[in-house]
Symmetry: C2
Subunit: 453 residues, 2 copies
């Protein structure tokens, strides 16, 4: 028979088992972390009616969409989890309680040009808090704590959460009479890290934006405000009283900073950064970025912010919110690429492999059942192979313990158990063997998928 | 602004938060159960190249596929998890260890005619054991144990796993010289439960199949074999020696039955059922169905079997396997529809809602952090609302405990904590309050998503 060559599409991540276990462990820890903050899990369809997903209108997104018809229906695959959330909240508004806190971890689709580290199918891991009419600023102050504790739970250490407030930016540009040009300016200022202040000034005073030297210098002075959080806040106080929005944004930023230590975020994992703007037409208050200190070139690994109107394309209700998103597939790719994945983590499909050495398998099966009842992931190996091949299989799947059950063991009510890491083999009563394995499992429970030395 | 009506496509399940928690709990318990048997998690793309998914050729499946082009590429959404597994194993053969045991829980797509309880996007929860060249019969014997323990973990009680062996069926029809007609006969026999033996005989002797009375009576006699597992096996022994395949199938069935009690499957949850055939062109040995005793009309909630060649369309390698699949979305729908979901389960987004009663939130935030460190899912409620509205929110989200932190509590190092189920309120030191909540969480850990009284 002619064979079809098996292949996986480019831009689609498909992991080998060991890596999949590490990825799944990350997902599990994200779920746990989000749950601890009172977010409820949500799952929405991957396919939606195109006109629902495109309610906001097209742009770059529309070109990247996977869109097709089935029967008479114009369908699209979701390209993020925010638009489906906006639809969900508008559709189920009457059945929800606000503030509505949900997390969603799921696949989204963008037909981007394929390149290394870019994916067309990728997981996003989002949380959002949605208010009905209003939403208290404390929700914005809690987000850095969630980011901090989530990445710490994954094992990451050297990262920094950068925060700004769009009201401060908008207010500042209003002071300069540059509200109309604020978008262009912010896009330029965003390049500061990459191109430096001189080139930023050249762009600001260049043909496209056309500022004169005075305002350009004011802007460069503003975005040069740096230092500890209190220093930055103090410097910003110097601008107070000239624009209402600015003052409000400064109050919000001060509140976010004020509760940091109560929320347990160490000072060195947090910075006010006036160059951050993010999603210019969407965010309206606090904005967040998260960068790996040793890999700034990767860009933000967790971003988001405050918005005033989640579902404006679907409902008259005013639904302000704050949310963040982790691009999990890309993050995983980068972590693997940069050697951050924990090679010591137990990624075996089982904690124990039982090798029965007798024709009657009943005693081996009974011990396997006993182990499983004790929460030990157990594989019974019954293939007709040579002993050496069986041990080689145990080695290859990386199982921590191999248990041998022969006539002598069965008669004596014991098992021979081999620790595959040390090579040590001992004969133990069933209960003690089960305890030995459980102890190892409990010790491994704190293993993180990331090692950041 | 004109609004886009928010809607979710028909045939696509989208759950409200409480139901989503129950669904997710089922997924979590499936993952745990499958893991205990040494299956490793896998995740493959939802989109595959059409020619890869269609390697086997079309038929009914092809018509139902979500198929489209993006750029020049002919793409399709997977319609099951078996074909992607076949591709995966062929593609990554060199990196896998056999027997390869994997589970996968993911969405699949079939553009079926929309009707109540049928879904176009639905979760399948599959396990498969794949051998390289050979696969021992004990793997087939273990499957009923996995089915039994998995559904029991979900809380289901009144179900039965029905087992047959295709070699027995094929052998039996070969004895009668009816191999050519075996497919048609099995499809007819499969209707026995619905239409009864007389109508089955009428169909067998009718124009389409055209058996004479003798063979038809033989068949009816054969499929009428019933009783305890040992009785059925004894009756089948009467046919031994007339067909090699039959004898082999009988040996296999006897082995599966033999190890049942060692694997901990109670006799009353298992039956040999000679009318079961399943996927005629695919399964080659043991086949499984699982039915809810009180709802046979639902059909099988977990099915599968042994097959000889998983990846024959992709590789020359002989890869026999055995697997089962649960149609999770439909199962969940049926369970909800029939009142099987556990209404007592804690589906709140948090275990505790903290209501700060002071301007400075630092003490409330610190207590929230303490609870989260103790694994208590905690929501801090800081919206500016009246007390009554806050309590009504707590009621609506179903949170088990509300904690009040006012000046007096903060001074005294205590909290007021209200048990929302009993209405009882008490003042406790922080640690004791945390312990009280933890105790409730631990008590709830054994709650099953299904209640089958």
């Amino acid at each position: 028979m002619a064979k079809q060559k098996p292949r996986t599409l480019s831009g689609f991540m498909e992991l080998l088992p060991e890596k999949q276990v590490q990825f799944d462990r990350m997902v599990e820890l994200l779920r746990r972390s989000y749950s601890l903050y009172g977010f409820t899990p949500l799952d929405t369809p991957i396919i939606e009616a195109s006109e629902v997903l495109l309610a906001k209108g097209g742009g770059e997104t529309e070109k990247q969409m996977y869109r097709f018809t089935k029967g008479d229906t114009d369908l699209s695959l979701r390209f993020d989890l925010t638009v489906p959330l906006a639809k969900y909240v508008a559709l189920h508004y009457a059945d929800l309680s606000f503030p509505f806190r949900r997390f969603q971890i799921g696949k989204v689709y963008r037909g981007e040009r394929a390149q290394r580290g870019r994916f067309r199918e990728f997981y996003q891991a989002d949380i959002d808090v949605i208010g009905d009419g209003k939403l208290d600023i404390v929700n914005e102050a809690e987000i850095p704590a969630i980011i901090y504790n989530t990445f710490t739970a994954l094992g990451l250490r050297r990262f920094q959460i950068r925060v700004n407030n769009r009201k401060i930016l908008n207010g500042f540009y209003a002071m300069l009479g540059l509200t109309d040009k604020a978008g262009d300016i912010m896009r330029t200022v965003d390049k500061l890290d990459k191109i430096g202040p001189d080139k930023v000034k050249a762009l600001l005073t260049g043909e496209d934006i056309g500022l004169s030297d005075g305002p350009a210098d004011e802007i460069l002075k503003f975005i040069a405000i740096q230092g500890g959080n209190q220093e930055v806040l103090a410097a910003l106080e110097g601008y107070r009283g000239r624009n209402e929005g600015f003052d409000q944004g400064l109050d919000e930023l001060a509140t976010v900073v004020k509760y940091l230590s109560a929320f347990g975020v160490p000072e060195d994992h947090f910075a006010v950064d006036l160059t951050i703007a993010r999603g210019l037409d969407y965010y309206t208050g606090t904005v967040y970025e998260t960068t790996m200190l040793d890999h700034p070139e990767i860009g933000s690994i967790c971003s988001g912010g405050r918005y005033d109107n989640l579902s404006e394309y679907y409902t008259e209700k005013q639904l302000p919110g704050v949310g963040i998103s982790i691009g999990l597939t890309r993050l995983f790719f980068v972590l693997e690429d940069q050697g951050y994945l924990n090679g010591e983590m137990n990624t075996a499909p089982a904690d124990t492999l039982i090798l029965p050495m007798t024709g009657d398998l009943a005693p081996a099966i009974a011990f396997a059942s006993q182990l499983r009842q004790a929460g030990v992931r157990t594989q019974l190996y019954t293939e007709q192979k040579k002993f050496k091949q069986k041990m080689s299989y145990a080695d290859k799947i990386g199982v921590p313990y191999v248990v041998f059950l022969g006539e002598d063991e069965i008669k004596g009510g014991v098992v021979s158990i081999k620790d595959m890491a040390t090579g040590q083999q001992q004969t133990l009563p069933l209960d003690q063997a089960a305890n030995l394995i459980r102890k190892k499992i409990d010790a491994q429970a704190s293993q993180t998928p990331i090692i950041d030395p």
